[in-house]
């Protein structure tokens, strides 16, 4: 199914972007929580390299399945643009720029998916 590789990749990136959006939402919601450290996901390239070969999770008790929840759980602390004296390292400006970046990449991803879909349909319809 190598011709479907694009859709697989696009779906993975969409799920990574959605997970990232919820991490950003957590940062923004906690922008005024004392001691809260800003977090972000590992880069998509890293996530992709790690999920090339995954074990099938056949039971909910299995570990290692790379679903969105475990991906969010992997979020690590980032260096914020500013650290408040309460120990909070969330900078709203930084988070807004991250969120903008996420939604732009998501729009690009979906636009490309749509274009590929149209291409397939054109092939099918003739």
């Amino acid at each position: 199914m190598s011709d479907m590789a694009f859709f697989d990749l696009a779906a993975r990136q969409a799920s990574w972007l959605a997970a990232r959006q919820s991490v950003i939402a957590g940062n923004v919601a906690n922008a005024h929580t004392p001691g809260f450290k800003a977090k972000d996901l590992k880069s998509f390239e890293d996530a992709l390299a790690r999920t090339q070969l995954t074990l099938a999770a056949t039971s909910p008790a299995h570990l290692g399945a790379q679903d969105a929840a475990s991906r969010i759980g992997d979020a690590r602390e980032i260096v914020g643009w500013e650290t408040h004296y309460s120990g909070n390292s969330v900078s709203l400006e930084q988070q807004m720029s991250l969120a903008g970046d996420t939604s732009r990449r998501h729009a690009l991803n979906l636009g490309l998916s749509k274009a590929f879909h149209r291409m397939y349909l054109a092939g099918v319809k003739g």
Partner: protein
Amino acid sequence: MFDPLNAAMRVATSGLQAQSARLRVVSENIANAESTSSTPGGDPYIRKTLSFHSELDRAAGVSMVRAGDTGTDDAPFRLDRDPGNPAADSSGMVKRPNVDVLVEMADMREANRGYQANLQVIKQSRDMLSLTIDLLRSN
């Protein structure tokens, strides 16, 4: 199924709730900035404070925010000499609340900014969701 975009909106909603609780406390403080005691020499209104706590939503693995219980500011009261005031003690001093309106205004602005940022996150997550749904539309 767990959906991270919905989780993002839920988290941002918890942020909206926390910021509006903060705004409520600020408005209580400003409204009572001059509230003196009803008994002579008694304590006036004490400034209320609110603290936020981060709360992990285990199902989604995201950090929600929760406004904790309101506390009180233990800063000293302002003392004015105003013998005609019903709240004045035997030496004519009136205790005024330890509310600094400027601090409250700054706090209000910050709450406002936090609220806007959370709204922006909701808007963006909603746009991402609706873009995804748009894939289903015939093109």
